[in-house]
């Protein structure tokens, strides 16, 4: 089950990054960040269905 995001969690997250969103902003960010946590298993499922090395993440080769 995906982590349930709370404003307390976010307040600490942003404080550690040197940012202080308002309480209203924190509330608005809850569904945004929740969507990342809810979506992550779906992205992992995409990768799980594919064979390596096609799921490699590489940087553009310099020419």
């Amino acid at each position: 089950m995906a982590e349930q995001i709370t404003t307390d969690f976010l307040r600490d997250l942003y404080r550690n990054a040197g940012l202080t969103p308002s309480e209203e902003e924190l509330k608005a960010l809850v569904p945004v960040v929740q969507a990342f946590y809810d979506g992550a298993p779906q992205v992992e499922e995409i990768l799980h269905r594919e064979d390596e090395p096609s799921t490699a993440f590489s940087l553009p080769v310099q020419s």
Binding site: L19, T20, A28
Partner: protein
């Protein structure tokens, strides 16, 4: 000569080359047009009247001496105000970059100058390019010339308005999730996002490095080809720039589409869209079939998961760039853009890496489509331009096909797939709604095959008259 301001680049180039039209006269026509319209339309943040006039004069003298550089010589082009023009502030549509005056042109501007173009003005944009509507609380929102109560689309909003209203010959935009194609669709013009790495992004304010593109916007497809020809090329100082030969984009543009294989994507792209948009795009597909193209329905891999893949990438990269400034200039960001940026901290590093891996899966599987087709055909947008007052609300939504969606997701969900894959994609007008608002057709091709995309778009354009309609006389 009447209607100079609505000449295409190709038309103006012929007249300039034959010395029937002076670059000075053409530049002055645009300056006069700007003086007449822009107080209302608000496309421009800076009009470079004296430098542009001097450049036009120089072009006139060069051409008079027989030193003709090519179809962009003496052509006035507007530039989105996140691309550096030496000596002119690059504000990015933000409040904290008003003193950001670059000493050098971006390479794309250098390329335009080498081709003899006149740099006319800097256009407004959605703040920091982080939005698809064009709404900007700092500088005001450019108005859609087809209906001034509606958004022009973004983030290259001012460029879209300037081109549509005949206030420049062509313009530059940038595109991270659709920011060239969205205003092109909503303003009824052509705009192409080239292949990722085709045009240097150095000297353009980044939004998301792995998704950013620079490209042209114009009133005609051939003009996009002409401007792209000047822009394209390797820049060893742009890490995302590719060393790939640049073909002649206009050489085959009139070849037609007989035998061209078109992949019409209904799955995802025809879900939750305005019936008028669906009908216009279906008719457009029929036009291309009438010209000899062969259409088959295909599906775009992982289209329904595109939001899950795109969000960690664009939001993480955008926040990475802005994090230092957010710490010191918090209140100089608009609340809406600030909130979008803050969201990026919620994606973990693992989420970002996995999103990039899933993106690689999407690219690999999408490339397989081009074993069967030459271009992909979709609507550019699910709707026509929303109203400014509705799109300005913090919780703004767009309703299409009976489904309500956030305005950002609604306006980017068809375009961002080609930022994720890096494939070239163009938007051209394919009709108007009953309310008189433009509808856009998106054609996309395989990497480095802008030529086929332009050929298909040109054939469609020439078989219709949408591109000849004008919002303002």
């Amino acid at each position: 000569m009447n209607d100079l301001h609505f000449l295409s680049v190709a038309e103006a180039a012929e007249l300039i080359k034959s010395k029937k039209l002076s670059p000075v006269e053409l530049t002055q026509a645009y300056l006069d047009r700007i003086a007449t319209l822009d107080a209302d339309l608000n496309a421009y943040i800076a009009v470079l009247k004296d430098p542009a006039t001097a450049e036009a004069k120089r072009a006139e003298e060069e051409i008079g001496r027989g030193e003709y550089k090519g179809p962009l010589h003496g052509i006035p082009i507007a530039v989105k105000d996140l691309i550096n023009v030496a000596g002119v502030p690059t504000t990015g549509g933000s409040k904290f970059l008003t003193d950001n005056v670059p000493q050098e042109d971006a390479p794309c501007i250098t390329n335009l100058r080498k081709a003899g173009a006149v740099i006319l003005a800097k256009t407004h944009l959605h703040e920091l390019a982080y939005g698809p509507t064009g709404i900007n609380v700092h500088y005001g929102t450019p108005k859609n010339p087809w209906d001034r109560e509606r958004v022009p689309g973004g983030s290259s909003s001012g460029s879209g308005v300037a081109v549509a209203a005949g206030m420049c010959a062509a313009a530059l935009g940038s595109d991270t999730g659709g920011s060239i194609r969205i205003p092109a669709s909503l303003c009824g013009i052509a705009g192409i996002k080239p292949t990722y790495g085709r045009v240097s992004r150095r000297g353009a304010l980044p939004l998301a490095w792995s998704l950013d593109h620079v490209g042209p916007m114009s009133r005609a497809v051939e003009d996009c080809a002409l401007v792209l020809q000047a822009l394209a090329g390797h820049d060893p100082l742009d890490p995302g720039s590719a060393q790939v030969p640049v073909p002649n984009y206009t050489a085959g543009i009139r070849q037609g589409v007989s035998g061209l294989r078109i992949g019409l994507i209904r799955d995802y792209f025809f879900e939750n869209i305005d019936p008028e948009v669906a009908q216009a795009v279906d008719v457009a597909a029929g036009v291309l079939e009438g010209l000899g193209a062969k259409t088959e329905e295909v599906s775009f891999p992982l289209a329904h998961q595109a939001s899950l893949i795109n969000a960690p990438i664009i939001q993480s990269e955008a926040l990475a760039y802005h994090l230092p400034t957010l710490r010191t200039r918090w209140n100089d960001y608009s609340p809406q853009v600030r909130l979008r940026l803050l969201g990026g901290l919620g994606a973990t590093g693992t989420m970002y890496a996995n999103a990039q891996r899933a993106r690689a899966v999407m690219v690999r599987r999408a490339l397989e489509l081009f074993d069967r087709v030459d271009v992909l055909l979709t609507p550019t947008e699910p709707v026509v331009a929303p109203r400014i007052d509705e799109a300005s609300r913090p919780d703004a939504t767009v309703t299409a096909g009976g489904r309500s969606d956030g305005v950002v997701n609604a306006l980017t969900r068809f375009s961002r797939l080609f930022n994720l894959t890096g494939f070239p994609a163009i938007s051209v007008p394919c009709g108007f709604s009953l309310a008189g608002m433009p509808i856009g057709l998106q054609l996309a091709g395989k990497p480095w095959d802008e030529a086929t995309v332009l050929r298909a778009a040109y054939a469609y354009e020439q078989a219709t008259d949408w591109h000849q309609r004008r919002p303002v006389p």
